[in-house]
């Protein structure tokens, strides 16, 4: 599978926060989610990819070309949805479109109108009168109207009600069905990724914790419940996180077979992405 986006050795520091040797790649035809708690480095990573913040070092390649040297050409192939839109709120949607559209060489007015109709958006309506869900749909209409091959979205589902989030996921599925596309989005609402993501990247404290296919990830991690008496120094090492109460312990492991061998009486359950994320985060382990 070809890589649409390859990030390697990305470093960026701001005061007390830094991205540290961030390395990952996005395969074509996949929806990839980047997860992490607030302040983990998701947005900084996306902004570095889009050239909105200057990286200190590292390489960002899109469609095989270095972003730094082919920025305009490559940005033509990307659709962007930033949280809360990032618009001039006093303009109407038609006026804002007139600002954005000329930037793209492959802008399709027909596609734009089709999306506006599909989302029931009135182009004459002022942006500051739109609900958060409508703003997100408008941002999507702009992002999808120039034959973008990669859609980059920063927290697109944040603050949206379940219906709009579900509609967004349907739109993304339709977009992927066109073929040869990719979606990369950051979120801390992991239930959306449970439904739609193919690949997951986790970032914490500016470092990549893992990049895995979602199904592989969900298969390799398990929640284990058992009697606290079965825990000792050796068995504790098999867990990423453990919480104990007077009734027993709950732990998360990616060494299920070993745990079952050493602790045959424990109960093993499947995990959600959120459980896995929390098991890797300081403060989420207890």
């Amino acid at each position: 599978m070809n890589s649409i986006l390859e990030v390697s050795g990305l470093n960026k520091s701001y005061g007390d926060f830094s991205l540290d040797e961030v390395t990952f790649s996005l395969p074509e035809g996949c929806i990839t989610g980047i997860i992490g708690v607030n302040g983990a480095g998701k947005t900084t990573t996306l902004r570095s990819i889009l050239g909105l913040t200057k990286k200190n070092s590292g390489s960002i390649k899109l469609f095989g070309s270095e972003m730094e040297h082919h920025e305009r050409e490559l940005k033509n192939r990307i659709g962007i949805v930033l949280d809360d839109g990032y618009f001039y709120d006093e303009l109407t949607m038609a006026e804002m479109k007139d600002v954005i559209a000329p930037a793209y060489s492959a802008w399709s007015e027909q596609d734009y109108k089709r999306y506006m109709n599909r989302f029931s958006l009135d182009p004459k309506q002022r942006i500051n009168t739109l609900s958060k869900g409508m703003r997100m749909k408008y941002a999507l209409a702009l992002a999808l109207s120039h034959q973008a091959e990669l859609l980059i979205m920063d927290e697109p589902t944040s603050g949206l009600d379940p219906l709009i989030r579900s509609q967004l996921l349907t739109i993304l599925t339709d977009y992927m069905n066109e073929g040869g596309k990719g979606v990369f989005f950051s979120t801390h609402i992991t239930s959306d990724l449970d439904k739609i993501a193919d690949m997951l990247i986790m970032i914490d404290h500016g470092k990549i914790v893992f990049q895995e296919e979602k199904d592989t990830l969900l298969d390799s991690y398990r929640k284990v419940k058992g009697d606290t008496m079965t825990l000792n120094a050796d068995t504790r090492k098999l867990f990423l996180s453990i919480s104990t109460t007077e009734f027993g312990f709950t732990g998360i492991t990616n060494q299920t077979a070993k745990v079952q061998k050493c602790m045959p009486d424990v109960v093993v359950e499947r995990l959600t992405i959120e459980d896995i994320m929390l098991s890797h985060v300081e403060g989420g382990r207890e």
Partner: protein
């Protein structure tokens, strides 16, 4: 691409555009009526200062109000240099409008004097020097910190300009008068363009290093 970004600047301040264009139209006849001794080139200069700088301030205010909109534009294929150039283009477009308005007014009100090429170039030089200094500072420090600079200029201009016009700086203008007009105009025009080009270069360098919110 540049045209669309300049158009964008007019769109985001559309509420003020008509008002400021009315100011550009009314200043010369108003000065002719209330202070005829300062009508003529001085009224042209004042109309340019008010119109260009007030509209530039309104644009900067809107950009400050919606800083994330510039971030979105920079995430699109618009190069940051185009966003910088559009600010200069916006001011030059307004200046050109003021020139046309004043030219028409000199035809309607002969007492305003003649519309001379020399006046247009000298005022253009003044605008180039102002923008040449002001815009790089604004790109570096932002709207909030820079606006005080602008307020002082606008407030002081009605008092300073007449004083400056009376000032005897001891410069021997015969040297300038000995230069053929065409050559002199050429030097002023080229000097103005060099200032603007250098300022655009500096502003682009500054803006390209900014981490956008």
């Amino acid at each position: 691409m540049l045209f669309h970004l300049i158009k964008k600047d007019f769109m985001i301040v559309k509420k003020y555009v008509l008002l400021m264009l009315a100011v550009a139209i009314l200043i010369p006849p108003f000065m002719l009526w209330r202070a005829p001794e300062f009508a003529g080139p001085m009224s042209f200069l004042l109309s340019v200062i008010f119109t260009v700088f007030m509209l530039l301030q309104y644009v900067s205010m809107k950009e400050y109000q919606y800083p994330k909109a510039s971030t979105l534009l920079c995430a699109t294929p618009y190069p940051r240099s185009a966003l910088v150039k559009s600010k200069y283009g916006f001011c030059i477009f307004i200046y050109a409008f003021c020139c046309v308005v004043y030219w028409i007014e000199t035809l309607v009100f002969p007492n305003l004097g003649s519309f001379s090429f020399e006046m247009v170039l000298v005022v253009f030089l003044g605008i180039s020097i102002f923008l040449g200094i002001y815009l790089p500072i604004q790109f570096k420090l932002g709207y909030e910190k820079t606006k005080f600079f602008f307020v002082i200029i606008v407030m002081a201009s009605p008092f300073l300009l007449p004083q400056l016009s009376k000032l005897n700086i001891g410069f021997d203008f015969s040297v300038i008068h000995s230069i053929p007009d065409v050559l002199l105009y050429g030097i002023v025009a080229i000097f103005s363009l060099i200032i603007l080009a250098f300022s655009i270069f500096v502003s682009t360098k500054i803006y390209s290093q900014v981490d956008l919110a």
